[in-house]
Every structure is written in C-alpha cells, then in structure tokens.
C-alpha cells in the first residue's frame, strides 16, 4: 500500500534526517560554546577580563567570617565594618601569589593613609610555610588561616573564586565592589580602589 506513496516515505525520511541533524547541531553548538561566562552586571577594568568592578546596586554582600591569624589571634570580619577592605586569597605554595606579593605590599602602603585595610586569607596552607612567606615578602597585614578552604567556599557562593590568587575589594557597606581573578597588577588594583574609595563609591 505504501509502495504506492514513495514521496510520502521519502519526505518522512528527509524530515527525520533534518530533525536528527538539527539535534546534532544543537549538541555541537552546546559543546563548542565557551563554558563559564562572567557576571553580565560586572564591568572589566582596563579591558582586563580578570579584573572587574561591580556597579552599585549589583554588589554581592561579603560573607562574614572569623578565623585564626598566622600569629594565633582570633580575627573577625565584623571588626572591619565601615572600612574599605582588600581581601586577598593566597597560599605560600602558589606561584602567582609569590609574584603578586610585592605589588600587594606596595598598594597596601599607598592606600593605608586612605583608611583601606588589607587582609589575607591563607588557603590550603600551614602556619609554618605561610609565616615564612610573610617574613620573606614583608607582608605587613594579617592573614586568616583557611586550610580547609571553608572561608573561601563561603565567598565562592557570591563571586566565582576558581583559584588562588583572587583579590576582592569590599566597600564601606560590606559589599564586594570589585575583584581581580588571578595575579593583581598595580594598575588594576589601584583603578578599582580609586573608584571604591572615592566619595560615595
């Protein structure tokens, strides 16, 4: 019976083939599409995709934390309330962290008079190695130990911290205003800080 309708079956084959090819095309596109993707609200700093500024109103709230510093005292994020804070996630084992250490020290010195506090989160590290790092690079600000990445996990919920180093700039209201994913450069960090420390920033 259907032998008499070859056109119909042929059309059916073509439709089926087209549907399957379309499905394959979707899979190809999906596979070829670059993964991840940044926050569309954030703007980059000086065209550097690793350095972003979050516009006011789209700044995620920085999670609070408490921890033990490398020198053994307790430190709580609440004692930094009302200040601009640069939070640097680092580890003594991390090559780019060693590369950026002197840059961070220089920016910290420059912005200390402006009331900007620097604070480190020492990720997957031990006190002995971290303290050696601090001594070697003359890091003048405290660091909270985060051997289990527990503090980092909290921050990862609001900003995509994929690796160390990551540097966050927290504004006076406790919101994350900017971030540098990867090694900081002097110009990126100072550009973000200039915006955040400006009046009303």
């Amino acid at each position: 019976m259907l032998r008499a309708l070859p056109i119909r079956t042929r059309r059916r084959t073509v439709v089926l083939a087209a549907a399957v090819l379309a499905a394959v095309l979707v899979v190809v596109l999906v596979t070829a599409w670059p993964g991840g993707g940044g926050d569309s609200d954030a703007t980059t700093v000086d065209g550097n995709a690793g350095a972003v500024l979050y516009p006011a109103g789209h700044r995620p709230v920085a999670p609070g934390f408490t921890g033990t510093t490398l020198t053994g005292s307790m430190l709580s994020s609440s004692s930094y309330r009302g200040q601009v804070v640069v939070l640097n996630f680092w580890g003594s084992w991390c090559v780019p962290c060693r590369e950026e250490a002197s840059t961070l020290a220089a920016v910290a010195a420059k912005y200390r008079p402006s009331g900007v506090s620097f604070l480190g989160v020492d990720v997957r590290d031990t006190t002995a190695s971290a303290q050696a790092f601090v001594n070697q690079f003359h890091v003048g600000y405290p660091s909270v130990g985060d051997p289990g990445s527990v503090i980092t996990a909290d921050f990862s919920d609001v900003v995509p911290i994929a690796a160390t180093p990551t540097t966050l700039v927290i504004d006076r209201t406790g919101h994350i205003a900017g971030a540098v994913f990867g090694t900081v450069t002097y110009s990126d960090l100072t550009a973000i800080l200039a915006k955040v420390t400006a009046k009303g920033g």
């Binding site: 899979v27 999906v30 090559v95 190695s129 790092f133 001594n135 909290d154």
Partner: protein
C-alpha cells in the same frame, strides 16, 4: 500506520526484523541521474545503517587508545611536558593531531557525534516501525488452513456463522486479538476468525528501543550536567567542596563552580588492614575511612554534623554528589628549619606509592620559605624497610618499620615565577645537591644539612586518602533505561507471535439442506516454533474449540466427532 519501510507491515515477514530494512529511493550512486539530494539521502542511509554504526563504535574504541597510552593534558599535564622534552619532534606532531587531549579533539568529537546521529537515526525509525507492528490486526484468514504448519478439521452441526462466532469467543477468552470479516462480506469471504497473540513481543521490542533512546539521553544528561572532582585528604585535614580546595575538577558543559555539592568534610581516621601471612600476604583486607561531614559548608557550620565510614565502592551521598574512596597512601610529616633557625616548613607531605610495591612511596618536599636559599628534598618512604644487599626495600605495606630516605637540594625551586608546578616533582635545574648519598631517617630523627643550611626532621607519618566526588544526573535514568532495555529484550526473546485461524464452511452434504453439518478448519502458525511449545498450545486450543462447538450445539442434534485432519 505509515511506515518508513514501504511494504505492508507484517511481523512475520523476516524483513521486518532486519536491522537494515530496504528503503525506497535510489540504491546507490552511479545508477542514473544522481543529484545532490540523492547523495544526501544516500549518505543518510549509509550513516544510519547498522554497519556504519558498528564501524563508528569500533573507531571510538580505537580513538580512545592513544588517550590511555599517551599522557593527557587534563589528567597529566606534567607528563605531557615531559613527553615534549623527551621527543620534541614527535610530540609537536602528536599535539597537532590532538593526541595529548584526545577526548577534546575535533576528530574524536566527530566520531561520537556521528555515532550519536547514527544510533538515533537507526533507532527512531525502528521505534515507529515496531509501534506500527504492535498495533496491526492479524491478516485475513488464508483460504486453505490445512496447509498451515498446524491444522485441525472437524465438523459441527452449528451453522457456519454461529461456529465462527463461538470460535471467536473462545479465542478472545484466551487473550487473542481478533479480526473478523467485515460486515456484508460474509457470503463471499466465508465465515472466518483470525486471531493473534504474543503482541507483548512487539511491546518488548518497542520497550527495548525506547529504553535505548533513554540511555542515550541519560548519557548526554550526565555529560552536560554532571561533574567529577578529585581531592587528596590527609588524616586530620578538612576541606570544603569548592574549586580552590579540589585537586582536579572536570565539570560538564553546563556546570560551573557554583554547582558543586555543598559540604565540608574532615578525615578523622583512616585504617587499612592487610593480610599478614599466606599467599595473599600484603593484600588489603579492609579499608575504613571515618569522615565527619556537614552538608552546609562555610564557617557557619549550621548543618547537621554526620559521620560516615567510607569504604571502596561504598560512597557517601551528600547534596546530590557521591564521594568515593579511590586511593590511599602515606604522608610523612617533616619539619624544616632554615639557616636562620626559623621553622619554615612543618606539615604532612603526601607521598605516592611507586612501582616498587608494598607502598614504597615517593614524594618531594619544597621549602619555598627557606632563606637564604630555598630547600628541596626528594624522598622515598618505606613502610616496612628491610635492607636487601644494600638497597632499601619495602616488604610489607603496613608501616611496621617506617623509614624515609632523603636527598637534599638547595638553590632556586623555580617557584617565584612561571607556570604552576606539580607538587610531586622537584625542578632541580637551578639547585645544587647537598649530599652525595640519600640519608635514612627513622621517625623522630633529624638530619643536619651541610653548610649550615638548616635541619630536616622526620617527625612521623599519617595516612591520606584520595576521594572522587562525582555528580551524574544521568546515572539513575541510565540504570532504569538499561534495565528496561534488558527487560524488553527478554520479552522479545521469550514471547512468540502466534496466529490461529478458524474457517467454518457448510459441509458438502449439507449444501442446500440448511440443517446439515459445518466443516470447521483450524490452522495455526508461530514464528520460531522450532523449540516447540506452540504445538501443544495449538492442540489444546483446537480441542477446546471443538468441545466448545459441541457444547454450543443444541442437545437434540448430537453430531458424532470426526477424526482430526492434519
């Protein structure tokens, strides 16, 4: 039901069961005018043929071979670098062919996408065909039933129409699907019943094919929305399941760091027992990794704290992810003081079991913070050390006589700039060796480095475990579909399609009298009846039909039974 396959659907037609049904359209290139659309159709037919699917499957297997022979970017980046230094010319060619990242290579993607298209293009038409086949009515009763493989003949006093009616009732009672002559066709076509049973076979076949679709979709689901991560955890350590805390993270296409399961886990204690004697001495007899975890990561720790004992193939499920114990080893603890007397290193350092056997493990210690020069050590941890002709061997995997053997280096570790390094390799190109011979240390022993470079102490050792954290949303659907496919396959193997036809004609002596006898012919056939079963079923059915016909005849008109024909 229209069908891809042109001939009228007949499940008894062997072609219906073929994998490669003949399809309409031009057979092959080279016959007559062959346009672009014909080429495309020809290519499509080729692609969806079982033969090409098998070829693609074979290519897929073949293509993954270099992935297991050569070091791969994703899993062994340092290995790739080593290969490049060892064979620079060959490596650049291999790299051009994508052989260092096989599973992301375009040609590999081409194979599996073609295979995917081939399978779908092959399975979808079959699904339609089977669905059609499962819904068809049995064919009209053949004219000569006695020619069928099984047949019986007897006479009854019932008129042909009534006899057919009774037969239909009996067959229907046995779960047969019936087909009767259309109304008004009685005089010409005679009185007959076509009955067919065993449609579950087609249902099974259909289930198998639908389940195959399900398996394909599940696998795709797992690839797009699943992830796999690894983490090495030293006893006493804690980690939060976040990107920075993972050693390896292989997310699916639609997975980001934010999709990781939310938990924090601590390894409280890991014990492994070994068989101490006999042929299997040194084989592990049991593993027990006691972990504490909370489903709420972060400092809040508001989640309920739970403990679990991980064992091989006994994962713990947390927030949609499964955490598997996949390996273990020793992490010797070292304390290093530098030339100034400062403690610059004090931690458990995971060593990896080497080919030496019995958990003879190798590792490196990198002391970046040592001043004035950085220090590095390559080490071997021997759990049960025995001196065999001057070389140290491990004779048992448990730490019964632990010893470390260290070679010290001083200089530049190469960690102040450049690409990230493997924690298991020491780049000694800018360092000088401190001692000619390896130094042996027992737990608690120290070694003074020459030239006042400092001291290293082997303070003890702790076990470590490696964990695989996986999330595969396609796993359960794939399992269900796989089981359904198996069930469908069993159904289609175990159930036979079988047909029974009944024809009732007025007997020769009854012609014209109106009250004479009716000849009833019963015929039956089954597909793949070789192993029997249908023969007995048919005999029972024929006997039942006959007795039903006898019972239906009014008592006043008994009809003597006639011998059965064959």
């Amino acid at each position: 039901m229209t069908d891809i396959r042109a001939p009228e659907t007949d499940p008894f037609d062997p072609a219906a069961e073929r994998d490669d049904p003949p399809r309409p359209g031009p057979r092959s290139p080279g016959t007559g005018v062959f346009g672009i659309s014909d080429w495309l159709k020809w290519a499509w037919r080729q692609l969806t043929s079982m033969r090409i699917a098998l070829v693609l499957l074979f290519l897929l297997a073949l293509g993954s071979v270099p992935g297991s022979i050569l070091p791969q970017e994703g899993t062994d980046a340092p290995g790739v670098q080593q290969y490049f230094t060892a064979h620079p010319d060959l490596a650049s060619w291999l790299n051009r062919l994508g052989l260092f990242n096989v599973f992301a290579a375009p040609w590999f993607a081409a194979i599996y996408l073609l295979l995917f298209a081939s399978l779908i293009g092959c399975v979808i038409p079959r699904t339609f065909r089977l669905a059609g086949s499962a819904r068809t009515l049995p064919p009209r009763a053949p004219r000569h039933l006695l020619r069928l493989p099984r047949s019986a003949e007897y006479v009854t006093a019932l008129p042909p129409a009534d006899a057919a009616e009774v037969a239909a009732r009996v067959l229907s009672g046995h779960g047969f699907r019936l087909r009767r002559p259309p109304a008004g066709d009685g005089a010409e076509g005679g009185h007959w019943v076509s009955a067919e049973k065993g449609y579950l076979r087609e249902a099974g076949n259909l289930l198998f094919h639908l389940a195959l679709h399900g398996v394909l979709v599940s696998v795709a689901l797992g690839g797009l929305f699943g992830y796999k991560a690894d983490r090495l955890l030293v006893q006493g350590q804690t980690f939060a399941d976040t990107a920075t805390a993972l050693d390896e993270f292989h997310p699916g296409r639609f997975v980001t760091d934010a999709d990781l399961a939310r938990f924090t886990m601590t390894l409280d204690k890991f014990t492994v027992s070994y068989i101490s004697s006999g042929e299997q001495a040194g084989q592990p007899s049991s593993f027990d990794a006691r972990v504490t975890y909370t489903g709420q990561p972060g400092t809040g720790q508001t989640g309920r704290v739970r403990t679990s004992n991980l064992d091989v193939n006994k994962p713990v499920s947390i927030d949609g992810a499964k955490v598997y114990l996949i390996g273990h080893g020793y992490a010797p603890v070292f304390k290093v003081t530098d030339a100034r007397g400062q403690v610059v290193y004090n931690q458990a350092t995971p060593f990896i079991a080497s080919a030496g056997g019995n958990f003879l493990s190798e590792g490196v210690v990198k002391v970046q913070g040592a001043q004035p020069e950085q220090l590095g050590f390559t080490g071997v941890f021997v759990p049960t050390a025995v001196n065999v002709n001057g070389t140290l061997e491990s004779v048992f995997p448990a730490a019964d006589n632990p010893v470390v053997s260290l070679i010290g280096y001083a200089g530049n570790l190469g960690m102040n700039s450049g690409p990230p390094q493997s924690v298991y390799q020491l780049d000694t190109s800018a360092m000088k060796r401190l001692t000619a011979n390896p130094q042996l240390l027992h737990p608690g022993q120290s070694m003074k480095l020459p030239g006042g470079q400092g001291t290293i102490t082997f303070t003890g050792y702790v076990p470590w475990i490696s964990l695989a954290i996986t999330h595969d949303p396609g796993q359960l659907p794939a399992l269900i579909c796989g089981m359904a496919a198996l069930g469908g396959l069993l159904l289609s193997f175990m159930i036979r399609r079988r047909r029974v036809f009944v024809r009732a004609r007025s007997g020769p002596e009854g012609v014209g009298t109106g009250t004479g006898t009716t000849v009833v012919q019963v015929g039956g056939l089954a597909r793949t009846d070789a192993s029997g079963g249908f023969e007995a079923e048919f005999a029972t059915l024929a006997a039942e039909l006959r007795s039903a016909h006898e019972r239906a005849v009014p008592a006043a008109q008994p009809v003597p039974p006639q011998p059965e024909g064959e």
